[in-house]
Symmetry: C2
């Protein structure tokens, strides 16, 4: 059945101005608000609740894989921060620095943490002395500050919420396995919770995290054709451990430096959800991450019996264990339809006098607007199944877009045409020479998003230099 949704006139359409559409949703769906601290945002209840669902899923997965939550200081002494050169170079330009404490000038200035590798290393140096102390598998939920010049809600901000895992291992192999394992958990989050298909792979040398030997990432493709780096995991080798004096007595009795990883996802994922799934009526939330999964709306609520029937229906729906909400405020049903469409609630259940007469409720899917009339006694089972259906439909739609916008580029001109006009990934065979990567960026503004794990070579030479091609790389413009 066709969608009869009332068009919400208050947001810009995606085709008209994608960036403005995005910002409109952030505000109108009440996900965030700006503050007088430039670049710093407020995570409003509805936005924060999405983050809490992401936290719930990840906390379970992290704990099931042996990780423990901890909390480390919000500031890092500058002297400590400066101990690892490459790392400092990567973050120094965008740090926020405290110079005054208790009305006195600080001798050792304090950097508001942009990431916590050095703090974890300092602590690990104290608590690790034997191979028996390994692995150490810690995670922290917190905010970090990076002094960005241009900011956009959830995508790039002076402060964002994230989790940062920091682990220490006896062997290189174990640490590398950890970095890959955590990437798989992020990928599962995308597939099973956010309904977002990620492209998984390794970062090029140029795109690696400051100080890491290896960076892996999950990349999501946005409907404007740009890629969004959505999570990264890093293998550090033992460089940080050496710099910070983290060492342990091995099984052979000799002292060694442990091998380190770190990994994180952030509230940027909320930006990915908005862009991948949203439409011109507002947010479209994947059901497993939606703060409200089903909203019950009485129609012609002033007619006798409607409110009681809506209450009974909502109460009964609670038995599904889903997150149900009932809106019995005195606003019109039409107003409510628009409102919950804007907020992206996956399922709307309407009940009015005619529904009551027929012993049914009207069920509307947010993702495609289709309606169905469902017998009340079958409603709970229907809704429970519908959640799965909607999740799959949303994932499949995003996957279709991803596949349709991953295009082989056999020349730099083709690559440029793909990223400029068609949008999405230009898949290219690459010689692994950074000069070609630089040249591509210069000519097309596209960057190497990742060297996907799934390597299916399709050309012999790098189209940039004509030398032997070694790797399939996904190039795209990126957020």
């Amino acid at each position: 059945m066709e969608n009869k949704q009332i068009k919400n006139e208050s947001i810009t359409s995606r085709s008209e101005d994608f960036a403005q559409w995005y910002t409109d949703i952030c505000k109108k769906a009440e996900l965030m608000d700006y503050t007088s601290a430039k670049g710093f945002i407020i995570y409003r209840p509805y936005g924060y609740a999405i983050w809490e669902e992401i936290q719930n899923y990840l906390n379970k997965r992290f704990k099931a894989t042996g990780h423990h939550n901890v909390y480390l200081p919000t500031v890092i002494p500058e002297s400590l921060f400066n101990k690892e050169k490459e790392h400092v170079a990567g973050f120094a330009p965008e740090t926020l620095i405290c110079t005054i404490g208790g009305q006195s000038e600080l001798e050792d200035r304090l950097i508001v943490r942009p990431t916590s590798e050095v703090l974890f290393c300092e602590h690990y140096a104290k608590v690790i002395s034997s191979y028996r102390d390994l692995p150490k598998l810690y995670n922290q939920w917190c905010s970090v500050v990076r002094w960005e010049k241009t900011t956009r809600p959830f995508l790039r901000g002076a402060e964002f919420l994230w989790q940062e895992g920091h682990t220490m291992h006896e062997t290189e192999e174990e640490a590398r396995t950890e970095a890959l394992q955590m990437l798989e958990i992020y990928d599962d989050l995308g597939r099973d919770v956010l309904a977002i298909p990620f492209s998984k792979g390794r970062k090029t040398e140029k795109e690696k995290f400051a100080g890491a030997l290896e960076t892996y990432s999950i990349e999501a493709l946005m409907p404007d054709g740009k890629a969004l780096q959505s999570g990264t995991t890093h293998y550090f080798g033992n460089g940080f451990a050496k710099a910070f004096g983290v060492q342990f007595q091995g099984r052979d009795g000799k002292l060694a430096n442990p091998h380190q990883t770190s990994w994180g996802v952030s509230t940027r994922l909320i930006g990915a959800i908005i862009m991948v799934h949203g439409d011109d009526n507002g947010l479209v939330l994947p059901p497993y991450v939606a703060p409200t999964q089903v909203v019950v709306i009485p129609v012609a609520a002033n007619k006798p019996g409607v409110i009681p029937a809506a209450r009974e229906l909502a109460k009964n729906l609670e038995k599904t264990g889903l997150r149900i909400s009932l809106d019995e405020s005195d606003k019109s049903a039409g107003w409510k339809f628009s409102e919950y469409e804007m907020k992206g609630v996956p399922i709307r259940v309407e009940i009015g006098p005619r529904d009551i007469e027929n012993g049914v409720a009207t069920v509307v899917k947010r993702n495609d607007g289709t309606k169905a009339s469902v017998k009340l006694e079958e409603l709970n089972d229907y809704i429970l199944n519908l959640v799965k259906v909607i999740h799959k439909e949303m994932y499949d739609k995003a996957l279709k877009y991803l596949l349709e916008h991953t295009t082989e580029a056999h020349s730099i001109e083709e690559l440029k045409d793909i990223v400029d006009n068609k949008g999405g990934y230009a898949k290219m065979m690459w010689c692994e020479d950074q000069a070609c990567e630089n040249k591509i960026k210069e000519l097309t503004n596209a960057t190497a998003r990742c060297i996907p794990f799934n390597q299916i070579p399709f050309d012999d030479v790098c189209p940039c230099c004509g030398k032997k091609a070694k790797k399939v790389v996904l190039f795209a413009k990126a957020y």
Copy 2:
């Protein structure tokens, strides 16, 4: 049966040096660690897990009473912070200030949040315009920074973890009710989860929070005779709302300023748990907040059948839904006994060859060291009941101490004797004149902890000035 626990020699005894005993536990039970950022600590996995249990309980209670979690910036522009004079005066001396961002001097310096009233007000001014928008019931889990000169783990630190609720209401009555309701929830946390009896009451004018019209608090009594303020709730009236331009159109069509509350508890509660319940063998955790509630320890683990029996027992115990852990490491049983005593695990289940022969396990209570031999088929029910028993015993013991250390003072000399020698609360009739409160502090170093809700007058005059007494007050030395 008598306690046969092996004395852990590595911590100072309580009677020898209470402060050192406290610090020893913080370190040896692996609750926290120091960092090179002076006054900032690391919440290690075991300490943080206790905080997570507190969060789980409070989040449920907060959500059931209609509150929503949000996240506001970690920094406050100095210009915004300076908008409410009394508040500024209260916090300015202990702020940490950022002056450099992205390598440039900041025009408007940023204060690392010591508390977030002003940020909430700024946001509320934007999202409240009608009585229909009220109440706004927001809570935030975060850390705050206060530049303290002398710090002690969990009790007073440059940074601590807390929750801060900030609400806006249509009427004074509703806001006052909210402040009292949240105090009740904190009190429930003490009684039902932490096994700590709190004294509830109102703060005197002198002891109120900066900018509040009314401050309520829960106070816990420590075994060294000092009180620990463990949580506060505040009624602000509409002073902040006026200063920040928060207003709404009321039911009468007129503009008005909403009435505000804020309320918070912090990781200071971990300090309370340590002091109230701990003993010379280490931490003693109340069962509902213990990260591990039952530890299973194989005895003579190298004997055939012991490890498999311990595993089966532990697996079976999982069915209780309690947090169970099995230690099958190669350390000696005696070492493990000491270790889990230090960590305060409420119940230890030992299983050795003789137990297996008799179809029993040995159950040891951490709180009093008593042992029992329990048939394996009855073990789960026994343990489930034991959790309740232990909680009640721990609460009752703390309550007994509290009652025994609450003493009527009929003169300043008596008050001084109580707080100096006996320890605990000196309960005194007070004229409500701040001059007397100041004098008492000067003479005895005791402060008015609270004016308890439960008022049972026992004298006619204030022993300090001889004027008519109006209120029963609890005086004590405090952390």
